[in-house]
Symmetry: C2
Subunit: 341 residues, 2 copies
DNA sequence: CTGAAAGCGCTAACAG
DNA sequence: CTGTTAGCGCTTTCAG
């Protein structure tokens, strides 16, 4: 923490040896006599030597840094993933360069480019779905390992970390059906979005032969609010709602309460993700839980591995989901009459 | 995005000039004939040249990167601040290295050190309160500009970005008093924490001569839950609670509801921060709003300025707060009898 | 205005 | 085992 930074040359001079020897001595032994290594290490500590990682990066071609490109860190889902990623990175001596893309293709590509220019050793992106075919090809053509948080439709050269979205959708559907619900709605994204599509597929399959009222909008709190308001205005007589993620569910919750209805008495509500606030809202939200922190962690582990073995094939990890039952759902069949919607 | 990276030397060779000239040409003119500059720029684009920022960093001593050291990005408050910071950084061509310290002094110092080793151009830290005198001196002694999100008690060499916590506390107190509350509680942190202390001071002053029941714990959702549970168990007869931040308020909210009480009918509740979920919980939380995004933005602006003028004095910016009134508070005086607490 | 040369601090082949 | 020699790719004096 000194003003005048001490370099490896200083250490070497003080020890009366060459910088290359000093480098090796500090690098972790191998090919340097024990007593001289210890001496160098002692001097390094005494002089408070700290390697200039920029210089090392230039010499080695590795920056000991990963890039993370999410749509918005304010989304609690990503915050959790990023935290898991950061912890994993830190444990392996890596740093994290954070970028927020808002899923804007332009921004995404610009950030990607700048991460490349900074010579990151790998990149974790939440989605390439908004990118054109050519843009995706550009990413694929770059030399850096990339792991995605969804299954891309096209290129197979990306690694992926996902949860079992399909199964999650099934769990939600099965739960609501078991509770006796027959007329249900599903609130999901308008945009093409691999994960949410899978959730919808699982849900549809599970509630068959029933068919949900399908509403599409923005997969955000505001979007959930808008969709639910629209839904309630239509008087469809549904008794339960499955929101494609918790944010949508929170928005829907507000719309439902504002409409003078009660959860779960009049309408049952389920979410997906299990963000922290799912347990804090009132009523606490029944939702499908995915291991966000672990997924971020796993993504970085994959990148670390890929850095070691440059030629290793992309890796794919799928995490199990589970339903966490709280208080936002109740039996549906016999109550359907009471439904004011 | 090509496999074989093209260097400045490639561009120079193609243009038939020296790398130094090419460097200047791309750097932004100055001292190079217009037509040759354009030629170089054209070739650079055609060859898809992208500067290696690690190399540039080594040469210039600047990394075009800021470090951000927050306790936990999963805290929505910090997510918002970081997003503002990232946007500001990006706008000036900077990147953001994100670290989560959990306010653990060891971790904090380790991260700080590693940011220094990566040669970041400045650091945004949320707090140094957990650090010892000596550790703070270490930070102060480093050459990088540092901006803090609170007023440190000791060293004056840090820049700061804060909101008017004292005034925010006053606003909360005045509001509750105006509503007729006389017996109130304040839920705050156990740890020394500049910002929260200020809020408490403002609150105390505003409700004078009334004296609040003061409860201390962890400034988190769980902490709020525990504190409120403790409080309600004591049967103090309070009719309103001012939580030192929204997280505490959310926890308190759950404890209150679990105790079979209603907000605001039995107990009024106020928070501080105005995170997104303050408007989503039920009832929506009345709280003191501080401009989180703008504060992160401002912090980076200060760092950018400090990078330019290395010798400029530390800068201090205080942001105004405002009360946003939602539905978690109601008149207190005549209801005090109804209070079951 | 432009080229030559030096160097940022470190690593990595290659001799000795 | 250790020192010598080359760079990594870029910026930046300093001459010409």
């Amino acid at each position: 923490l000194q003003k005048k930074t001490v370099t490896l040359a200083d250490v070497a001079r003080e020890a009366g040896i060459d910088v290359s020897t000093a480098s090796r001595a500090l690098a972790g032994a191998y090919g340097v006599r024990a007593h001289i290594r210890e001496k160098v290490q002692a001097i390094a500590k005494q002089l408070q030597y700290h390697p200039n990682l920029v210089a090392r990066g230039l010499a080695t071609g590795r920056s000991e840094t990963f890039g993370i490109l999410v749509s918005d860190i304010r989304n609690p889902f990503f915050a959790e993933v990023v935290r898991g990623a950061e912890d994993a990175a830190n444990a392996s001596g890596y740093g994290i360069l954070l970028c927020n893309s808002d899923l804007d293709p332009q921004k995404q590509m610009r950030y990607f480019r700048s991460l490349l220019n900074k010579r990151v050793d790998g990149i974790l992106m939440n989605s390439v779905a908004a990118l054109s075919r050519d843009q995706q090809k550009d990413l694929a053509g770059s030399a850096v390992p990339i792991v995605l948080l969804h299954r891309p439709s096209g290129y197979r050269c990306f690694s992926t970390v996902v949860c079992d979205n399909f199964h999650g959708g099934c769990l939600a559907g099965e739960h609501l059906v078991k509770l006796g619900h027959r007329k249900m709605a599903h609130l999901t994204s308008r945009a093409r979005h691999g994960n949410l599509t899978e959730r919808a597929r699982g849900f549809l399959k599970a509630i068959k032969p029933a068919e949900p009222v399908l509403i599409r909008g923005s997969h955000s709190v505001q979007g959930g609010y808008d969709m639910a308001k629209d839904l309630l205005g239509r008087k469809t007589g549904i008794t339960a709602i499955f929101a494609a993620n918790d944010a949508i569910a929170f928005g829907a919750m507000r719309a439902i309460l504002e409409a003078g209805l009660r959860i779960p008495d009049n309408i049952s509500l389920m979410g997906f993700d299990d963000v922290e606030f799912a347990s804090i809202v009132h009523p606490p939200l029944t939702t499908i839980s995915q291991p966000k922190y672990e997924m971020g962690h796993a993504a970085i582990e994959i990148l670390s591995k890929l850095v070691q073995h440059r030629d290793a094939p992309p890796e794919h990890r799928m995490f199990e989901v589970s339903m966490v039952e709280r208080l936002s759902c109740s039996p549906g069949r016999d109550r359907s009459l009471k439904c004011l919607a």
